[in-house]
Symmetry: none
Subunit: 422 residues, 2 copies
């Protein structure tokens, strides 16, 4: 596999425009009719792209591996998803439009219920309403500072929140406090950094770095423990949300800037905060948009002159797949297709339509199946496929490739990659 | 490529059952009719799986590489065949149901004939009958102990035997004594461990480890040399087997346990000892079975409730291919197919049918050709292939993949892999 480090040496700038249209969870499984969601849906506009493009499949991570949204998008953007791992805390915080800094460490939080012996009786505090969550975060748990480390408790939805610790020398190599089961006490956070004592190999420099990480994890545990203590004190009289559970401690990752790697002026259009967050994480410009698919395509039209790369994200296909709702997924594809004609009218030079992963309604969740993918450009050496669908993709000229290849292929088709070697 | 280390973090246990049915040397080449062995054979039951499954090809090691049985099975079981190299001595010893321990070092032996100048005149001692081999091993060469190292001389077949050295600090970094040609004297075993004197890089710990390996190889050579001397003394009056040649010195390899990696309770069903040995090497439970294909499927039926993974091995396809017997290979496929209906009756959740490599009758041996493979599960997103065969596999939805991916795909289809990342 070509690395991004290799690719960036070949990049040249030009005026050509690329659109990456991602239907979340696009790939499906056939229902009784023998056809998948994409095959049942009518999508004349996607088919116009297909007839002038090439079709095939992408593997988001590798055959057999079911990805979460984080690694799946990292891969779509051309990064190695195993190298750039996004922790749960970071991912959830990306999902609330929080402006994360390099000094921040985030954790995913649950409001929970404990009994008077400290045993967790409900890990989700009866799924309290979002309004209660907002009140607990914004009023009860506001302005907690521990040993100079500022914290931000941000509501997400129902019992879910994010907590961000801001300050120097925080280390995320610490374990969850969420016991993952009811009937147990919350776990004390543990140091999961490598113990420098046991390690005698490596240079002195490496040994020092390990010692530093280990000690930072130790002091971070003390801060997290004091924060939990303070939260418990403030929540004492609340019901049913009288305690908190934390998991997925994670700091910002050191990921190369997308615009820098590809010499693009990129824009992201997504309704859901998590996808805006993922785009922001790699340095894309996140555009304001509405709450409908139509509004996303309007945003594309309004901004088409200002950028040369657009990442567009359609959520509804995945939500319908997760719910096992075959028909709703079909409808989401059909609705989006209506607006694809507006995209075509803008005359982009390269269009890639794909999913971040498959979410077959039959499977009720993300799956490992390769994702139907189409690439349109004037120079793609088109195949004879006429309609977008999994069965047709089997014989398309795009073949089957890691999703990580999409960016290289889109860039090549836009004339944005010079030749390698003389 | 996804590593097994990565995969094991995603594994979850459930009740679903997987059957991996391996036709040794399955892949073929077309005869005058233009069809391969698999394409000429009638296999209605395999075709039932095909019609509800996906077809394609696997590469056991890599395109162009012809594998031996050892690396081919290591790869089928999901291990990196270049990382876990099984020496000849170990492989042959696995093939005789010998209970190999971590203290053992094995070598493949040949009984040979030398003249009175010590020159090898026949590397196979005229392919002595197996009964003579049994007698020489069990009576003449029994109970040899050298400097506290116990040896076991185990008959294999005709002129072939295994010798196992048991004791501490043995090192297999020593060269063969077999000169591979007649008209030469046996070679003295040489130290092929890295000479620690020439090496100035690495830490002190690494240098010490290298010195230790080098010294252990030195003392092992002394033991092996004394063993050969004693064997020559005892064989002096035998004819034509009056000496021995040793090759492929190899110790047990440190390979992760299959049941541990995949959280499976696995069972192996194979008539030939080498395949039982390969299964035992990775920690599968080896089931007692008979000497016919029918008995293998009876064993499957009897044990179906007790395990959640079955590796079944059919040898006859390879033997026929090696003999260049196209018709016999066709018959072996057809005979096995009869019993595949019994397998289907057991309602396994996932079935993979493949070969460890190709053995085309036209080639008279193992070959590098990709291996026809089918995967059946309720969730495989089936393709439109109706019959199992190389030409059809070209357009199947399984595509062409490294054999090492099979385990990940089987596990995914059985719902035994959770998603990677959130």
């Amino acid at each position: 596999m070509i690395t991004q480090e290799f690719l960036r040496k070949l990049v040249v700038k030009n005026e050509k425009k690329i659109v990456l249209l991602v239907f979340d969870g696009l790939g499906g499984l056939p229902n009784a009719s023998g056809k998948t969601e994409l095959e049942v849906a009518k999508h004349p506009n996607l088919d116009r792209l297909v007839q002038n493009g090439i079709c095939g499949f992408t593997d988001p991570i590798a055959p057999g591996i079911t990805p979460g949204s984080g690694p799946a998008h990292v891969s779509l953007f051309g990064y190695d998803p195993l190298k750039y791992e996004i922790g749960r805390g970071l991912l959830d915080t990306l999902g609330i439009d929080f402006e994360f800094t390099n000094q921040d460490m985030a954790a995913r939080g649950n409001f929970a219920t404990k009994d008077d012996k400290g045993i967790i009786t409900d890990r989700r505090a009866g799924r309290i309403p979002t309004e209660t969550c907002n009140h607990l975060c914004n009023d009860v748990l506001k302005d907690i500072t521990i040993d100079g480390i500022k914290t931000f408790v941000m509501p997400v939805k129902e019992h879910r929140f994010s907590v961000i610790f801001r300050g120097a020398n925080l280390c995320d190599r610490i374990s969850d406090t969420d016991p993952q089961k009811e009937g147990l006490k919350p776990l004390p956070p543990q140091n999961i950094a490598d113990d420098p004592k046991g390690l005698e190999t490596g240079s002195k420099q490496e040994a020092n770095a390990k010692l530093c990480t280990f000690n930072n994890a130790k002091s971070t545990i003390s801060i997290v423990s004091k924060f939990i203590e303070e939260a418990n004190k403030r929540l004492k009289n609340e019901h049913p949300a009288n305690t908190i559970l934390l998991r997925g401690f994670s700091k910002m990752i050191d990921i190369p800037n997308f615009n820098d790697v590809y010499q693009l002026n990129s824009a992201a259009i997504a309704i859901y905060p998590m996808y805006r967050g993922l785009a922001r994480l790699v340095g894309m410009n996140v555009l304001k948009t509405g709450t409908t698919i139509e509004s996303e395509f309007e945003t594309l039209k309004e901004n088409f002159g200002k950028f040369d790369f657009f990442f567009m994200h359609i959520k509804e296909t995945d939500s319908a797949g997760e719910d096992g709702d075959f028909e709703r997924k079909v409808k989401a594809i059909e609705e989006t297709d209506k607006y694809v004609s507006k995209l075509i009218d803008l005359k982009p030079d390269v269009v890639v339509v794909t999913g971040d992963h498959s979410t077959p309604a039959l499977w009720h969740g993300h799956s490992w199946h390769p994702v139907p993918t189409l690439l349109y450009s004037q120079y793609c050496r088109r195949d004879s496929i006429k309609e977008f669908g999994e069965t047709n993709c089997l014989s398309g000229a795009f073949g089957r490739q890691p999703a990580q290849n999409i960016m290289a292929l889109a860039m090549a088709n836009a004339g944005k990659l010079k030749k390698y070697g003389a």
